[in-house]
Amino acid sequence: MKQKKISHYKTRDYQAFLYIMPWILGFLILQLYPFMASLVYSFSDYNIGAKAEFVGLKNYSKLFTGDNEFWNCLKVTFVYTLYTVPGKLVMALAVAVFLNRDIKGINLIRTFYYIPSLFGGSVAIAILWKLMFLDNGVINAVLNTLHLPTVQFLGDTRYALKTICALEIWQFGSSMVMFLAALKQVPRSLYEAAEIDGASKAKRFFRITIPQITPIIFFNMIMQMIQALQNFTSAFVITEGGPLKSTYVLGMKLYKEGFSYFKMGYASAISWVVFTVILGITLIIFGTSKFWVFYGDEGDF
């Protein structure tokens, strides 16, 4: 009987391949092939319009020992990630916790707070940021009115990267929306029990709220880390990597080498460094997740 049921469904189930066919093709041609090809390119001096030759580890050795820009790029990218990912998460969580209460108009408030996040890496907003943070821009005008000295947000190596980070952190909306939804899921009974036991507000936050939403923190952390390590638009439009390469992120270096100088082999090596860094950090976060991410129930598929 059971056997019969399986064979009965078999023909229909094979139709699944028709439905997933676009993705299989897309995966093979536009994801797996480019992924492997860039690894192969990275061992060659491949260049648009010229014949590629195998050069072994030359690209990598040049990158790590001969290119003084590279280590700076790596550092800048790390600093950018270290500022923006926690910055965004803390901001989003703080605002979400504050908004997570019974007040009228919460939907409207949430909508307005989300607006900055609509623009993502848009050029229009990058230009706006540039204009606002000019030496004689509106931010400095405000500082001067408060009798504070002018800050060279874009021209000083100490501030340029932070100014770009601020743009990213400003767009904390989608994490905030996820946190808000997660906070609603935390069972009230937990708080009630804790209150009876006399737990303080801070204790309730760190012992109940945070552990309950760790899966969302985890998800956001990984996705934003991947995005931050590839950042391009804001650095490219606002500061063009300057001053003195203080905002020259790896994404920009990749673009310059690959699409301005057409050193595709060399750029591929950079892209694999980016990939390795992302993979490494992802594995570290995954590895540590069993110590700090709590799943209420195991999802199965």
């Binding site: 189930d13 391949f17 439905y19 676009p22 090809a37 890496g121």
Partner: protein, 281 residues
């Protein structure tokens, strides 16, 4: 006494909410008013409101660069974004259906691959993709945007729709099969109508991301005639030796208006899309 305390706290909360909100939105509001100001008013001044409301900068800015106007850039943008969005939604929905409703050999592995590609950085595939598209003569066309959409290369949406479909009861499919429907008809007539909110969310996000995307447009499009707005804005910033900021801000503002309109018209889908896809991740 207690109610007065409560009221005071309410007032305080709303005040904090309002101040944070005003700070967050100030750049956008400032941008709007900057479109009416000349450089003298924009630079070195903290005044928000312009001396007069004049629309010269919109008119001048709209003329664009060379012979290409913003009418053209807008048409380009929509020619790029709309098909990409629609194709993404269609292909992702089909693939999601395949994954969510059938048990087929190799499903576990294929699903694991799909999840893995969620984390595949664009940076690592962009160069071979470029050479591939170059070989096909697709550079400076919108095919580098359409084809990945046709081939469901946006795993985020596929995953989101799989999750949504898993929430719909399988009895629906079963009874459709009983009634003699094939799988395609079951999908089109039974499941698709129920998937509308999720499809809408996916479409909105894909629209937004493609509309805002600069990196791919920069790499794949190289003639001004085909420029979408993102590239046009960047070009107008570089074009002049003395930048007329009012003009630039006018066009930048025009560029963000469609996004804001769309958001306000469909904000429910935005918020639900984020909340559900993230929560189940």
């Amino acid at each position: 006494m207690k109610t007065r305390n409560y009221k005071a706290r309410m007032v305080r909360d709303y005040l904090i909410i309002f101040i944070i909100g005003a700070l967050l939105l100030y750049p956008i509001i400032w941008m709007f008013f900057a479109t009416f100001k000349d450089n003298r008013e924009i630079l070195g001044s903290i005044k928000l409101l312009p001396e007069h409301f004049r629309f010269d900068y919109y008119i001048q800015g709209w003329k664009g660069t060379g012979k290409v106007t913003y009418t053209h850039f807008f048409i380009n943008t929509f020619l790029l974004v709309l098909p990409t969005t629609i194709l993404t939604v269609v292909s992702s929905a089909l693939v999601a259906y395949g994954f969510a409703r059938f048990k087929f050999p190799g499903k576990k592995i294929l699903f694991a691959i799909l999840i893995a590609t969620l984390m595949l950085p664009n940076a690592v595939i962009i160069i071979p993709r470029y050479t591939l598209y170059n070989k096909f003569n697709w550079i400076n066309t919108y095919l580098p945007f359409y084809i990945p959409a046709v081939l469901a290369c946006y795993p985020f949406f596929t995953y989101m729709l799989i999750q949504f479909l898993r929430g719909l009861p399988r009895e629906l499919d079963e009874s459709a099969y009983m009634d003699g429907c094939g799988t395609l008809r079951t999908f089109m007539q039974v499941l698709l109508p129920l998937m509308k909110p999720a499809l809408f969310s996916a479409g909105l996000f894909q629209f937004l991301w493609t509309y805002n995307d600069y990196f791919n447009a920069l790499i794949f499009i190289n003639s001004v005639k085909k420029f979408p707005i993102s590239l046009a804005l960047r070009m107008s910033l570089d074009a002049e030796s003395v930048v007329q900021w009012g003009k630039i801000m006018a066009m930048a503002f025009v560029a963000v208006v469609p996004v804001m309109l769309l958001f306000f018209a469909a904000q429910k889908y935005f918020v639900e899309g984020i909340a559900t896809s993230g929560l189940k991740g």
